[in-house]
Amino acid sequence: MKLVVIGAHLERGDIEPLAEAVPVSDLWLSGVAIDDAQPVGDRDLLLRVAKVRAELLDRATFIAIRYGFTAHGSSDAMAKCAPHIDRWRRVLRDFSGHVEMTLKVAATTARPRPDRHDFESGAAYIRALHDATRATDVAPEFRRAVDEMLAPLAVKHRWSNRDTASLEFAALVKRESIGAVNDAGARLKRDFPSVPFLLSGPWPLEVFADDHE
């Protein structure tokens, strides 16, 4: 059996009986157990993991681990996760009452994604992809409104260019602020009916799991 790992948690009680719990030092990994032969690139498994992940977040905040990471028991998990344990512990203790909210907004002008077949080297393709991604932007008045309405509700926030067609605003907020964030989203929808955006959450610690210093 192997474990498709979902996240890192402070307490075993935050995981069981919703998912399998595996100790790593004084922390716990949550996950779904599957046969060794079962591929992780399986649609039904993906949907099952997504459902368990949401249920775990309802119970307590955790650090999300990207889908595809598997472990064979505690010793294997510990060997793979050891470099992260101290940071995870700090993040979980400091942000146990927080979740992430995400606002994805379509770029003002979507730029074509570079075609890798047009480049002679992988490095040139990656550079072109990076440049095209960095060049995307949204309407300045919408961005300003997000900064004025959503950013003050966040403990941390960040704009990021994730691809050539959209930008993302990620906010780390206290759980009790989720309602206020959604209210702000509703005001944005009313004030900017022509700007396509998607406000979603709550999510576990994803964007802000790596830079807690």
């Binding site: 992940r53 598997t70 992260h84 959209s166 998607l198």
Partner: protein, 63 residues
């Protein structure tokens, strides 16, 4: 947007977060189904659906 569209979008956004966010453990391979890289699949599907929102939010013309 209909309830079904909202439900579909919610699922796609969930999958995008599952596939494209969170801590990456060194040494893990990118997951794929067939020849399609799931990380890009998730992202592209969500973006495609954002386009669908734009289309469905346009008032329909009555001829």
């Amino acid at each position: 947007m209909s309830d079904a569209s909202e439900e579909e979008l919610s699922l796609l956004e969930t999958l995008d977060h599952l596939l494209d966010r969170g801590v990456v453990i060194a040494g893990e391979a990118v997951v794929s189904i067939g020849d399609v890289d799931l990380l890009y699949l998730g992202l592209n599907v969500v973006l495609a659906n954002v386009d669908a929102i734009i289309r469905t939010s346009q008032p329909k013309q009555i001829k």
